[in-house]
Assembly symmetry: C3
Homo-oligomer: 466 residues x 3
């Protein structure tokens, strides 16, 4: 299934350059500075249960597509919040997946799955109804062998470092278990404070209380709340964290004076805060987090622009993160101004911007990152972590911001077996883009080799301080 030259341009001149560039980067270690793998896997090192649990049920790319074509989430084994009955036979789930696998033609999901099938399990025939059971049996058997336990896969994937993402209330017990186990795999955490920063987060007020208990700070006072953040950030740093991550509905920032911020905090803690209050609080907290980053050095990531839980009936039945978050139009130029007015000119702060709104690449993000020392651009994200979209990212960004205001690749995934495939796709696409510049005489081949290495490896290490 996997052609040696997949994703390279078909033009022979471009292809041969791309091949040469890729040959030098294909085996570089994986630096995965941002993602959502489960630290429990690496801490306990228990085998993955079965093919469906490894590939289907944790992957919203997969079940959203199947759902869009009429497959019920219950039939894919997604747990209902009400405990209602759902499919429990992993083989049945697998068969449904196989039956609809043709839907993924032309999508990145297929690139990732095919890659894992062939490189991990030696399966060279594309999944379909007719070979569903065979594939299931082969994968299921493999998963029972120690070579497919999480740590073995981690090593086989040649991962130099991977970051997970945890909230401030997390005690990081899996990270502690890993540390104490003596295992050498480098799995670090990242500070994702949504649960105590976003007043719309379920359980927000209780979370703030718990934050106080954890830290011994008076987390219901503004100064105590900020101090509690600082303590948790410091704690996360002891588990290797080099970054924080912020997933807000918009990129709005604010820079209130201390009294106004304090009053706002009181309002969002009370039950009568308005929608505007809540948005303003999230905005203010981005600036507060930037201030803390100036002190403690955490790299700040902003992932804005997703309308979470667009489908209320699915949300009611299955809960959050079940494939119906939808991008919205996002503004950066005005939204980031308060934060940038205060910190944008600093060389000792790094803020990495992501987007789900491609219209901002050339109009807003590249011009901003091509000016402010504190800003860098994260790679094509989420729906745009795919070959065509990655090429558009480079086309729309590079002419204004260059390569060195970008930060290499993030896989940003919870689908562990897809990680090598995702980095491989990114390397192939970047080499193809560079090959085009060489073939059209805009770049020397020696420069392209240097850039290919930077994009595949070095920029992520540097930008994320890894």
């Amino acid at each position: 299934m996997l052609h040696e030259d997949r994703l390279f341009p078909s033009d022979p001149r471009q292809r041969s350059i791309a091949q040469a560039l890729y040959a030098n980067v294909r085996n570089l270690p994986i630096v995965s500075p941002h993602g959502h793998t489960n630290p429990q896997w690496f801490a306990q090192n228990k085998p993955f249960e079965n093919p469906a649990e490894l590939f289907v049920t944790p992957d919203h790319y997969i079940y959203r597509m199947l759902y869009s074509q009429g497959v019920k989430l219950e039939d894919l084994g997604l747990r209902r919040l009400d405990g209602g009955s759902v499919e429990t036979d992993p083989r049945q789930i697998w068969r449904r997946f196989a039956q609809h696998y043709y839907l993924f033609r032309g999508t990145p999901t297929r690139l990732w799955i095919d890659h894992a099938f062939e490189t991990l399990f030696g399966l060279t025939e594309r999944l379909s109804t007719s070979n569903a059971d065979h594939h299931y049996d082969v994968i299921d058997a493999a998963l029972k062998s120690p070579a497919f336990a999480p740590r073995a896969l981690f090593e086989r994937f040649n991962i130099e470092v991977i970051a997970t993402t945890e909230g401030p209330l997390d005690q990081l017990k899996w990270h502690a278990m890993m540390r104490d186990s003596g295992w050498k795999g480098r799995v670090i955490t990242a500070y994702r404070p949504d649960s105590v920063v976003d007043p719309d987060f379920v359980g927000f007020r209780g979370n703030i209380k718990q934050l106080g208990e954890l830290t011994g700070e008076d987390s219901e006072s503004w100064s105590g709340y900020l101090a509690a953040h600082r303590k948790r950030r410091a704690y996360f740093k002891t588990f290797g964290a080099t970054s924080s991550d912020h997933g807000h509905p918009t990129a709005l920032t604010a820079d209130l004076d201390n009294a106004a911020a304090q009053a706002l905090f009181s309002r969002v803690l009370a039950s009568n805060s308005t929608t505007q209050d809540k948005e303003l609080f999230r905005a203010q907290m981005l600036t507060e987090m930037a201030a803390m980053s100036c002190d403690d050095g955490l790299v700040m990531q902003i992932h804005p622009g997703s309308m979470r839980n667009h489908n209320p009936s699915l949300f009611a039945t299955f809960g959050r993160d079940t494939g119906h978050d939808i991008p919205t139009r996002t503004d950066y130029v005005s939204a980031l101004k308060p934060l940038l007015d205060r910190f944008g000119n600093r060389n000792d702060l790094t803020i990495i911007l992501f987007t789900l709104d491609e219209t901002t690449y050339s109009r807003e993000l590249a011009p901003l990152a091509g000016h402010y020392p504190a800003l860098r651009l994260g790679p094509a994200w989420w729906f745009f972590d795919a070959p065509e979209s990655m090429i558009r990212f480079r086309e729309l960004i590079t002419e204004t911001a260059g390569f060195y205001n970008t930060v290499g690749f993030n896989d940003d995934t919870r689908a562990f077996p897809s990680i090598p495939a995702r980095h491989d796709v990114a390397r192939r696409v970047d080499c193809s883009y560079l090959a085009r510049l060489v073939a059209t005489h805009q770049l020397d081949e020696t420069e392209a080799h240097e850039l290919a290495h930077d994009l595949a490896y070095q920029l992520a290490k540097s930008a994320y301080k890894l």
Copy 2:
């Protein structure tokens, strides 16, 4: 003029794949599930009058371009509402068209016209001032032969089925005449209720009254009005309708309770309704139409985002649909939410979304259609029914929504002789896109053949229940 390999990539590897894919679909019957041909043509089967009447005066793509370069619409024979004098000599109109034909370089209009000239009339030299009279004479002579009557062309074009578009007040007499004539050509209607759904439509209140008279319902009461719609939809179904079509300024939907909807209806019937009332009424009616589709099975098409009649002086002189409707920024994520909250999870409803705002392809439309079972994406529409635009459609849609959440091609035209050309362009472009995926090893050639067939023929049939 027509090169056998037109629109195929020039890269030899991609081109040979595209040729092979296209060879298998080029002669498939035309399924035209949405358009604006005139049923009177097929009912009466009278010859087209002359070359100008066939090619120039009904085609706003043509006269808008000429107008933009200083040609007066009067000189192209467009009728003035005040009866003022305009050019009546079709040969003079034709000469003006020929003189400015170079303006269409690089546009789809030229692809369509050249295709019709060569395949229908054997004209192989591109239109210009020097051959204007020759072309006129050849076409004019041909039009007088029975082989160029509407039904003969319909058959020659290999049209399996074509949908026209009529309003609820239309008695469908031409469709009835066709049915009664025994002619076997399949010309069906589609339900386009703007005239009784849009309070800004000229004559709206009178139209509502007339709707009541037609149906015997009390169309000035909310329940009678809805019942009247149901009756007209049923009537349209007896003339083959499988779809409704909705051309609103925005994609806004609403889901008011019955009392609120009733009160709103009263306000828009009275003379004092506000702009907001009118917009809300259109929004509510999209949801009502979706509800009716759940009952009667009509596929629902939404064509939002055009600011109609941008040029008031042209509108005053020549009326609507004279080439000055201009796209506007369009939101879907919030706008469709009320309708989707109610019906988005249904597998027995199909809503086909179109756009004039390409920024929504990857940000909104693909993520929505890649999740909601009720949603499908219509093809690149209107200004985007052109090769580069169609490729962008696939590039921006496929990675998130795949191919199977799209619905094949719509020609959406009133320019009858352009229909084969338009479908041919779409087939060539889709085969080129597929060829690129094959040449970069993202798709097997056998899969590409299956997809080429689906995109050229099967998806339109299935999605529109034809």
Copy 3:
């Protein structure tokens, strides 16, 4: 460094067509209808001081990129408003530039600089730390020879005509000096009235007074103010002006009646005008300028959509135009309507629209320009004056607006040595785009030759009446 085939497609068929097209246009004279070169250069014809002054300090493309990667503007010799100390040694500035030159990989800046280095100074090795001094010495020596004086370069660049840009308060003394010198180089001015049209312009009220003094009109009355504009426009025309230029934050236009306009003018002259008043005044003035253009024939250029001085601390330290103007979302469809309602249908008026928001190309600008006789589209501007962006411009514009509603190329630069490079890039990119159309059989090669000439030379001359 400069490959003969740079920027041409690597596909051999497309490349050979592009070569043939380019061969016929590469040596055409440069028509530069809009830009910001300094007329003092040509008036005094003094040699440029040193390499840093020629290449680095006047070019915000360069120092914004260096600044984004941590280089201080002081270290590049930019003058501080407070007279604080900055680098004054041009060789040190040059070394810093050389050290960071790798940042420009993949950007148009590098294309321009490499072109100037090689064609003007015979430097064929790419700038780096190791050859920084050598390059400096070679350029510095050359600048001392008469062959590198401004007028000599003007002639060597084969410039047929170039427009500078001046404000209404400018006496055009350098243009007068040129005229009186007997030099044959055609350097004309353009009327850019921001300083007396934009109430947010620093010194606005004083500027209005000064406008009155210059013209002998009562510039603080509405009618006197308009009369003063008319006089200055006439004065600019005596120095060759054929165009005006308008750089507003948005494209908003208005068409107030005389009383309302008069009252608005009084308000913006008083100290208490609101933000809305100021925006409305700018909007009204676009329409007033269009009215004057109908009388005096000046071509009107609108450059909207930049948020000026995004970085307040840099603005406070270094002033305006120092690399931190950031594009914003721009609307044209509603914004231009008042002006178009009044003047859009005129064939004797030309309004050239530019954008920093690429989303408007296909959604708004091409449909508008493909209809209104008064509208034309300016080329890809500012951040988009670069190969990928120029190709997008053609791809997104041509199918709806064709080629003949565009106006050729503008270099829009104050970086004099980059002018031949910029026109060369534009010619190469346009030839590549045309070659693709030929290679995919959408255009005949003879037509492509005609178009290549039009895009490189004729359209700019015609549209700007040069």
